[in-house]
């Protein structure tokens, strides 16, 4: 117990860093991913191609490499970016590809009659997507989308390698400083992640039941 009292500050700061990194990157990923999904079903072929290209590239690149190019590559073209915003950008851009795929699968799950009806009413592509298709698509993809975001929380651990002092990065540090309390160190870090992922999983479950469409 003494261990937690002594190191409360370190663990709390690390936890808050992980949390804010997750929230900011998650927001970026959701917005960008939805835009990409809209591009992938749009009538303009080059937009479809661009979005497909983006998704393919980011799905085949390790997140580490994305980090590399953001944090060490951008300065080569004279954009110096700080470690934390760099981490947000890397995780956000990477996750956006997966969000796009999830949302697109939701769009495909909306019954074609809905889109046909909205076209028959004279809605434009943008209107039918905004008013009719996307609201239904989001409801069906709540579970996969939630899972993508939870996986993203775990992915933020890579920022430890890029000088962001988040939860994982405290592990080697605390292990060396607290040789007697190793299990507590491990427990502290694991609990930190679970404090984010478990409530998130519960919230996703509640949200899913609340907005689910019965077909």
């Amino acid at each position: 117990m003494q261990f937690f009292i002594d190191n409360f500050d370190i663990l709390r700061d690390a936890f808050l860093t992980t949390l804010s990194l997750s929230l900011l990157a998650g927001l970026l990923a959701l917005v960008l991913g939805t835009l990409l999904a809209a591009m992938r079903v749009s009538p303009v072929a080059p937009l479809r191609g661009l979005a497909t290209f983006y998704v393919e590239v980011f799905r085949n690149t390790p997140l580490t490499v994305v980090f590399f190019f953001i944090i060490f590559g951008l300065p080569q073209i004279d954009f110096v970016i700080d470690f934390f915003p760099g981490a947000v950008l890397s995780v956000g851009l990477y996750t956006a590809a997966f969000v796009c795929e999830a949302v697109r699968s939701g769009i495909n799950a909306v019954s074609p009659g809905q889109a046909e009806a909205s076209r028959a009413l004279g809605l434009t592509f943008g209107q039918s997507l905004r008013e009719v298709v996307l609201p239904q698509a989001f409801r069906t993809v709540v579970p996969p989308l939630g899972n993508v975001l939870i996986a993203m929380v775990k992915n933020t651990s890579i920022a430890a390698g890029f000088s962001v002092s988040e939860l994982s990065s405290t592990l080697p540090r605390l292990v060396n400083a607290n040789a007697g309390d190793l299990l507590f160190v491990l427990l502290g870090v694991v609990i930190g992640y679970m404090l984010i992922t478990l409530p998130a999983a519960y919230a996703v479950h509640r949200l899913e039941r609340k907005v689910a469409i019965l077909r």
Binding site: T61, Q76, I77
Partner: protein, 300 residues
């Protein structure tokens, strides 16, 4: 819902608008690429002499990088074999009729899916030695990859087994097969075939995650690139830093794309195959699509 359902086939005016937009977009993207190239050239990063070191056998760089690639593949291969075997066992365990098997196995799977892979590897490498169990970097890395990925693969196999049509199981029991026979002769063969593309995709993830070895000092690609950077910086400063990292990144991307193509090929074959006709739609656990870790980068 296929794409064209969302909009009418564009008429001449819409097509003209799309063409103009495309032209403007293309110009913008070309400008962006040109901007990046100019900036890179301005910083001297495109100098051929800087890239030549990657192909010059006298510098030792090609040898070192290909050796590192081998070591990366080594970890990945060992990890893939054990993780697949472990995943199969865990999946069967989770579907067991016996509570005392099902509950601990479920707990194991959920635990390792809930924590980042990096934390598992840290635990094996930094914490176990304090209890007198010394693991090499190779063992800690492979162990972490196996523990984490067998949990994820177990969920994949479970989804596959559950996707096999109920009639298959009932028919198998109907002709008098035992539980283990139903599983090994009827359910698993169909489940594995059905999940082959996802399985390969997850193995790609495992390969990507082997880059985590960097942190604990296993000489895989990233680590090798880093140590080459350190070696060269003694004589040349940071002349070759950017080039070496780009080379390491390219290795990863090429190997990953090759494996992904394999997954796509497997998928197209599975789709045509009649041997998976008895399986329905599958709902996948989502961390299947996303990798769990990555690597660590050195301070520059």
């Amino acid at each position: 819902m296929s794409t064209p359902v969302l909009f009418d086939v564009p008429g001449p005016r819409a097509r003209a608008r799309a063409r103009i937009g495309t032209a403007i977009g293309a110009v913008l993207i070309a400008a962006l690429i040109a901007f990046v190239l100019i900036r890179l050239a301005g910083n001297g990063q495109l100098d051929p002499a800087r890239w030549a070191v990657l192909f010059d056998p006298n510098s030792g760089v090609p040898q070192a990088l290909s050796k590192a690639l081998l070591k990366t593949l080594q970890v990945a291969a060992v990890g893939m074999v054990f993780a697949t075997a472990g995943g199969l066992l865990l999946a069967v365990g989770r579907l067991s009729d016996h509570r005392w098997v099902r509950v601990p196995v479920s707990a194991f799977i959920e635990f390792f899916r809930a924590i980042p892979l990096l934390v598992v590897i840290f635990a094996l490498y930094f914490v176990l030695p304090k209890f007198g169990v010394d693991l090499s970097a190779f063992a800690a890395l492979t162990g972490g990859l196996v523990l984490y990925n067998s949990a994820v693969l177990a969920e994949i196999f479970r989804a596959g087994i559950l996707s096999v049509d109920r009639g298959q199981r009932e028919a198998a029991y109907g002709i008098g097969l035992r539980k283990s026979q139903v599983m090994t002769l009827v359910l698993l063969p169909q489940a594995v075939r059905r999940m082959l593309p996802v399985l390969i995709a997850q193995l790609v993830v495992l390969l990507k995650d082997s880059s985590l070895g960097f942190i604990i000092g296993y000489f895989e690609l990233l680590r090798q690139a880093r140590s080459l950077v350190e070696f060269f910086s003694r004589d040349f400063g940071s002349t070759y830093t950017f080039q070496l990292y780009v080379a390491a990144a390219l290795f990863y991307i090429v190997v990953n794309v090759l494996l992904s193509q394999l997954a796509r090929y497997a998928e197209s074959r599975t789709r045509r195959s009649t041997k998976t006709a008895g399986t329905g739609d599958v709902e996948l656990p989502a961390d299947v699509q996303m990798d769990a870790g990555g690597g660590e980068a050195p301070p520059v």
